[in-house]
């Protein structure tokens, strides 16, 4: 219930629309998106239909979400986040990719940000190899690219107060997994391209209004 209300409030505040149609085909899905704001996964989560939201788990940084009791409660009770350590020592002992595969096998859909960290420039940075790993280990999983627009203006890195601007989450067609003979780098670049492809100016014009 808290989740339904929170998702509604997030959509109201960010102007992101509820996604109408996610087919219930029993297939697992990985939503992968560009990352520029703390709002990113909340927005994808809030845009999903209520039923999907129940089994969709964001993959998020443990260091951030374990910091305060409120964050811990949100992460475990509302978002059911898969918390992944950024710290190298912890990474070795906790096997982040293993945790994600485990979640998929248990019937969860995942929200991941393959850039690893929030981009400060508005550009989509290079993808880390985790997505390739998940796609090869669980080839039957659908890879859904998502482009998040304007969220970095609503809540940029390093700011505490969000602006009430309108954002958008564009969901794309499933990306075919790694092809025969395709290198890891080429696949990751293709995945990155599929996210950027969705950005073709819906909300914000591609070029500012200089000179016109």
């Amino acid at each position: 219930m808290t989740g339904v209300v929170l998702a509604f409030l997030v959509r109201l505040a960010t102007g992101v629309r509820l996604l109408g149609d996610v087919p219930e085909d029993g297939k697992r899905r990985i939503y992968f998106a560009n990352h520029s704001s703390h709002l990113d996964f909340v927005v994808i989560w809030a845009a999903l239909p209520g039923r999907q939201r129940q089994w969709t788990r964001p993959v998020a940084a443990a260091e951030y979400w374990e910091k305060t009791p409120l964050r811990r409660w949100l992460a475990s009770h509302i978002f059911k986040a898969v918390l992944i350590p950024r710290d190298l020592a912890r990474m070795r002992s906790e096997d982040p990719l293993g945790k994600m595969l485990e979640a998929l096998d248990a019937g969860a859909d995942l929200i991941v940000f393959p850039e690893g960290t929030r981009s400060d420039t508005g550009e989509v940075g290079p993808f880390k190899p985790g997505l390739h790993h998940l796609a090869t280990k669980r080839p039957e999983t659908l890879l859904i690219p998502v482009f998040l627009e304007n969220l970095s203006r609503i809540l940029p890195k390093g700011e505490a107060l969000p602006l009430p601007l309108m954002g958008q989450a564009d969901f794309g067609e499933p990306l075919p997994g790694p092809l025969e003979g395709e290198s890891k780098g080429a696949f990751l670049e293709r995945a990155r391209g599929s996210v950027m492809h969705l950005s073709h100016g819906h909300l914000i014009p591609a070029t500012p209004d200089e000179g016109s």
Binding site: G15, N150, P164, M166, I204, P205, A206, T207, P208, S212
Partner: protein, 332 residues
């Protein structure tokens, strides 16, 4: 809403919307669900909602009206800033604009503290905005960024707030009836939009400014504007005007509405967008509906104030309760 004349106005609008709904139903039955007709149906449905919300705000009295326009102003500014490419350096400035400048302005307006209502935006806020942006340290296209925010604040907050301010305009012999004046302005301006659209679709040939707004035609403006002026004149009984003055005021609203729409359309296109948003089905964003009222509100207000010789000296005084509160706070 004790004023029977106000009820006649509401009744008239309900009647017109009923006819519009029936005509749309009939057209769709006759020619099927073409894109134009589906859009027409969406527009008519949205008109019902907008009418209900607008009238409810009037029924709730001053608080309702000022709350409603503060919300509209917030939504309009949200659309405006969303489409304007404001960079990181403007974040803090915009936080102040949305969460302090806007609510305070409507507080001053609702008080009413006339002096502050008049200068809070064009003096205090316009001094504050560039200072805050300069402190953020980003000098890249500084003038454009500042001008952009100031333009948004001026149109979406200041100009728009003149509409509820009509409630306070002192007009001899018209005390307590100002809600009808607000109704008159909104009705004539919006009817003018609709009439220009309808006559433009029927007889439109010569485009006024094809690059700025392809739907604005000279024929639409002339015939639609004339029709709206006629409607406005026929409503003189609800206004403090004689029929002749009502005609002049209606023509002013038609012209200001047309140019407000044209200018906001130019701004919108310079930002590379077709609609301001997607908040109102069939219409676009909130600003797509409000654009014609932005210039009409302040122009109408000041022309009426001048015409009736409103004593601006009275108007500059702080309201008594705020005066008392200040003294209490200062401890004297």
């Amino acid at each position: 809403m004790k004023d029977p004349e106000l009820l006649y106005l509401v009744g008239g609008v309900v009647g017109v919307l009923l006819i519009a709904t029936l005509v749309t139903k009939f057209l769709i039955r006759k020619s099927g669900e073409t894109a134009v007709l589906v859009n027409l149906r969406q527009r008519v449905n949205a008109w019902w909602w907008m009418m209900v919300v607008f009238c409810s705000s009037l029924a709730l009295g001053r608080t309702g009206v000022f709350g409603f326009y503060a919300l509209l102003s917030f939504l309009a500014l949200r659309e405006f800033i969303t489409l304007s490419p404001t960079p990181r350096g403007d974040h803090r400035t915009l936080t102040w604009v949305f969460f302090l400048i806007l609510p305070l302005h409507f507080l001053f307006a609702a008080a009413p503290w006339w002096g502050m209502f008049l200068i809070w935006i064009p003096v205090y806020s316009f001094v504050f905005i560039p200072i805050r942006s300069a402190l953020a340290g980003d000098t890249d296209r500084f003038l454009e960024r500042t001008a952009r925010i100031q333009w948004g604040v001026l149109t979406c907050i200041y100009f728009l707030s003149y509409l509820p301010m009509l409630l306070y305009l002192p007009i001899p012999g018209y005390e307590g009836q100002n809600a009808k004046l607000l109704f008159f302005v909104v009705l004539v301006t919006q009817i003018s939009d609709v009439m220009q659209y309808v006559f433009g679709k029927l007889f439109g040939k010569t485009k006024v400014a094809p690059k700025v707004s392809p739907s604005k035609t000279r024929e639409g403006l002339l015939y639609g504007g004339a029709a709206a002026t006629l409607i406005g004149t026929s409503l003189w009984w609800a206004t403090p005007f004689t029929p002749a003055v009502a005609a002049g005021m209606s023509a002013l609203l038609v012209a200001a509405g047309f140019f407000g729409g044209l200018v906001m359309s130019a701004v919108k296109r310079s930002l590379g967008a077709k609609d301001w948003g997607r908040g109102i089905p069939g219409h676009g964003g909130v600003l797509d509906r409000l654009d014609s009222l932005l210039f009409a509100g302040p122009l109408f207000f000041h022309v009426v104030a001048y015409y009736f010789g409103t004593n601006m000296h009275e108007v500059y005084k702080q309201p008594q309760w705020m005066h008392d509160a200040m003294r209490l706070w200062m401890g004297s």
